[in-house]
């Protein structure tokens, strides 16, 4: 029997081939118990082989939890991750750059090892789902033969280096960042100084400061192209990140010459490896190092590290061939010449066609619903790329595909072909083009159905997109299934992240509504949560907010400016009635999520006739804590940072006290006593415990209570975010207690 290894032979680059051989051996060793499951888990993560929902061997089917009795029995590929359980394969596509051959290979792999679907992520990766671990070596080899590696796509590594998808054709860019992004990705991949991180590390390249394409401010290192005195270089930001508590990157250097790019990246990597937290993953990102040291001390340490580095040839080798990533248009630029235009072409052109800085050429955005496309569509896009864009394809952080160098005269033909394959929808970058992470569809951490909600919003909004006011049409909606921000909800005009709430004995899917985020200016500001609304009422939130904006805006006022002017209190008041959940007997639809008919629950529950009417004292207590956290937001907005910090801490203390009181009876209001009881009874016992984040949320409370409260705006902003997350964790804890036999809620 021939294997892919034999068939591909030396088409697999030797170094990648060796790595894949080693991984194949590790699979065999794990199967015979000769590698610890934790070691194997990190090994596979570093090759992009991720876990997926239900890989713990059980699934709630809406009525009960069923065991998934896989044939390999108790064999695992990581802690509580069963060997045979399907997993997610993440495939790094540096700066989103793909060629037709790569697309065709990905299509083959999606068909043979996944479910026929390719998914574009918010970090310009491709993900395949439902992949068996034993198929991964063949999958890796076939990718390697197409020049693609999955190495370091997950795990505590340098993740996919992202970049502006319109780099090189952009009308506003300072210069094309493509060769720099490519060189940085190649240099850091597998580098000895990037192998000992406590957590992931993300780098991005933007061609300009104003437009958002590469979102520099939310990266561990964000490079923004800059020219000073005729010399190329970068404005450099460090310590940004989304995650549960977002952090705006801080300016490291106003200008760093291009030859310093790689040594600086290496120096930061070494500092991160040396000073970054290793044991507690919740405080292990670079942002914690930067915040702990302060930006000035961080600069000193990094520059000292830089001076000590031994020069490497790779630092400057690529600079000799900066034109090496240039693309060649396949066809000469030609004006449209009045040729017939298919129906819908004009509308599509308005939103999906970007006029390149090179006259006569355009970049075409192929709008992918929910970031998905099929294997046949991938092949058709490969054909289009060969014929019309010289093979130049980029994936975007808004989960679309970009075809560059399309001659303007060819646009009707490209549009016609996209329509033929079902990808000719207009609306790229508009309110219809909703971004969403996988959420409860496939992610182990998902709380609510982000894709279900995104699909619903997309469908509802698409029908009226053409009649919308332009200011509404241009809004951005982003959805995450949980607080971890993979859907980048903090950057949206309207952001949503999944949470749950109890009503009687039932758990109901909700989304927190965030407003005030900014995608422009390289993710210039982050939104804050205003109120949690049941999933099924989020479309009403969108309708109500956009209608109010249109009615109340002053001339030229943006949505974000309008939110700022009216204030979050008014926004909350506007939505408060939508937070109500009808009794299950009245409307059962609220008790399941979008696109999922199962009753939303994490366990089996006995239900009394009047169960839906019960509101426990804990529900009231947590609602009060939530109000206080919201007040902290408002106070922060008003500029009273000291008081906002006190309110945020007070909200956490109140939630903690309510949990203790409900579970174990009376408790004083004495702060040390509340903290002690909470620690002993909830943290030590792991009742207040997230299966993935551990005691992270409890630590927010302890840290705030045991240290001087912050006074700077951004630090208080973070504390307010932490308070909200602590309350979400309290809700989860209450749900867990209610659903665990013998535990009183």
């Amino acid at each position: 029997m021939t294997t892919w290894k034999e068939k591909l032979g030396d088409r697999v680059p030797a170094e990648l081939g060796r790595e894949i051989d080693i991984f194949e051996t590790e699979i065999q060793l794990r199967k015979t118990g000769k590698i610890d499951e934790k070691v194997f888990a990190e090994t596979r993560l570093r090759r992009g082989a991720y876990g997926q929902r239900y890989d713990n061997g059980q699934r709630n089917d809406g009525q009960r939890t069923q065991k998934l009795a896989y044939p390999s029995g108790d064999l695992t590929k990581g802690p509580t991750t069963f060997w045979d359980a399907p997993g997610m394969q993440r495939i790094k596509i540096p700066y989103g750059g793909l060629n037709p051959a790569g697309l065709e290979t990905l299509a083959e792999l999606a068909e043979e090892y996944s479910d026929g679907i390719l998914h574009v992520t918010t970090r310009q990766d491709i993900q395949l789902h439902y992949v068996h671990i034993e198929d991964t070596p063949s999958l890796f080899r076939r990718l390697a033969a197409a020049g693609i590696t999955t190495r370091e796509a997950c795990g505590n590594t340098v993740r996919n280096v992202t970049g502006c998808p319109i780099a090189g054709v952009c009308r506003d860019e300072t210069f094309d960042v493509t060769p720099y992004a490519k060189a940085c990705s190649k240099f850091l991949l597998g580098h000895k100084d990037t192998q000992n991180f406590g957590r992931k590390f993300k780098v991005s390249f933007s061609g300009c400061a104003e437009n958002a394409c590469a979102l520099a401010m939310l990266h561990d290192i964000g490079y923004v192209a800059k020219v000073r005195e005729g010399k190329r270089g970068f404005e450099v930001y460090v310590g940004g990140g989304l995650g549960s508590v977002p952090n705006q990157a801080k300016l490291f250097a106003e200008f760093m010459p291009e030859e310093e790019l790689l040594p600086f990246s290496q120096a930061v990597s070494r500092v991160f490896a040396r000073l970054g937290e290793k044991k507690n993953r919740n405080t292990a990102r670079l942002k914690f190092v930067v915040n702990k040291l302060g930006i000035e001390e961080f600069k000193r340490v990094v520059l000292e590290e830089r001076q000590a580095l031994a020069p490497e040839p790779a630092w400057s080798a690529y600079l000799k061939d900066l034109r090496g990533t240039d693309e060649t248009p396949p066809n000469p630029a030609k004006a449209p010449n009045g040729q017939p235009r298919p129906e819908g072409f004009e509308a599509w052109t308005r939103t999906n066609v970007y006029r390149q800085r090179q006259p006569g050429y355009a970049a075409v955005t192929v709008t992918l619903p929910l970031g998905d496309f099929t294997a046949p569509q991938a092949r058709a896009i490969a054909d289009l790329a060969r014929k019309h864009s010289g093979g130049a394809v980029r994936l975007t952080v808004e989960q679309n595909i970009l075809l560059r160098w399309v001659g303007e005269a060819d646009l009707p033909a490209v549009y016609g072909e996209l329509r033929r394959i079902g990808l000719g929808e207009p609306g790229a970058g508009t309110i219809v083009d909703v971004t969403a992470c996988p959420g409860t569809d496939t992610c182990k951490l998902g709380i609510s159905s982000s894709r279900g909600l995104a699909g619903e919003l997309r469908q509802r909004l698409a029908g009226r997109m053409m009649s919308m006011d332009e200011a509404v049409r241009g809004l951005k909606i982003k959805v995450s299934g949980c607080f971890n921000s993979c859907g980048q909800h903090h950057l949206a005009d309207l952001g949503f992240y999944g949470v749950s709430r109890k009503k009687g004995n039932y758990t109901i899917p909700h989304f927190q509504v965030l407003v005030g985020g900014q995608f422009e200016n390289n993710a210039g500001s982050y939104g804050l949560a205003v109120i949690a609304v049941p999933s099924k009422r989020i479309p009403e939130v969108v309708d109500r907010m956009t209608a109010a904006y249109l009615a109340e805006r002053s001339k030229g006022e943006t949505f974000r400016a309008w939110i700022k002017r009216i204030g979050k209190v008014k926004v909350r008041q506007m939505l408060e009635d939508l937070a109500e959940v009808p009794l299950r007997e009245v409307d059962r639809s609220f008790y399941s999520d979008w696109g999922d008919p199962r009753e939303y629950s994490v366990g089996d529950m006995g239900v009394g006739e009047c169960a839906g009417e019960v509101v426990s004292p804990l529900d009231f207590g947590l609602a009060a804590a939530e109000r206080q956290a919201f007040e902290a937001q408002v106070t922060h907005e008003a500029g009273d940072y000291r008081r906002a910090a006190e309110q945020a801490l007070g909200a956490m203390l109140l939630a903690a006290r309510e949990l203790v009181a409900t579970q174990f009876g009376g408790i004083s209001e004495d702060r040390p006593e509340v903290l002690r009881q909470f620690k002993d009874r909830f943290v030590e016992t792991k009742l207040f415990w997230d299966p993935f984040a551990g005691s992270k949320f409890a630590q927010y409370l302890f840290h705030a209570a045991e240290n001087p409260l912050p006074e700077a705006s951004d630090a208080v902003h973070r504390l307010v975010e932490e308070a909200q997350l602590f309350i979400e964790a309290s809700h989860s804890c209450a749900t867990k207690m209610a659903e665990a036999p013998g535990v009183k809620a």
């Binding site: 239900y54 399907p86 679907i117 079902g422």
Partner: protein
């Protein structure tokens, strides 16, 4: 060189049965049906999840994902139909494996037709089946590979259709999986076909 049928290591076999009137079928109705199938173990295997790709027009549609196979109300390989794609290895020689996959596909078709959500709207035609090789290593999309597998397909589908199977390979795009359209004369229905496989 492609293997001979006797040594053919093809397990990732796909079989699609087409709906008689695809326009009448509301794809989204498959979502609650497949979730119920998981609850009630209506089809064999370790049933893992339901994936809904109804938002993509020519896609796998709605997929019931199991450890052993993907079972989809599919629109990616021709008009809407039920596509059963085996993932794990099967016992026996290739013809036995193929029969096993055809049986699983037909069995799922019969069950789907019986679901109340599809009453009066979903009926599968028994006169045409699409065979797919979902393993380009074991059986690529080429004339040579088709010639290799043709006798086995003629034998299995001939028996299924009472000796009247006609095979047509779609060779329009070599990048696609090997796909062979099998048509059988006569008016046999799904249950009759199933009977011939037991």
């Amino acid at each position: 060189m492609t293997a001979t049928v006797s040594s053919l290591d093809l397990h990732r076999i796909g079989v699609k049965v087409f709906a008689r009137d695809p326009v009448r079928v509301e794809l989204e109705k498959a979502v609650p049906v497949f979730h119920r199938w998981i609850q009630e173990h209506r089809v064999p295997g370790i049933l893992v999840d339901v994936a809904d790709y109804g938002h993509l027009p020519e896609s796998p549609g709605v997929v019931l994902v199991s450890h052993e196979a993907n079972l989809a109300l599919d629109r990616s390989e021709g008009p809407l139909g039920l596509l059963y794609t085996r993932k794990t290895t099967l016992e026996g020689a290739f013809p036995d494996r193929l029969r096993s996959v055809v049986r699983a596909a037909l069995d799922a078709c019969v069950k789907l037709e019986e679901e109340p959500e599809f009453a009066g709207s979903l009926a599968f035609g028994a006169g045409e089946i699409l065979f797919l090789s979902n393993d380009r290593l074991a059986l690529p999309n080429s004339e040579e590979a088709f010639a290799t597998i043709r006798p086995a397909l003629e034998s299995v589908f001939g028996a299924l259709y009472g000796g009247k199977a006609t095979l047509t390979r779609d060779g329009s795009d070599r990048r696609r999986r090997l796909a062979v359209r099998v048509t059988g004369g006569g008016a046999a229905d799904l249950r009759a076909l199933l009977g011939r496989l037991s």
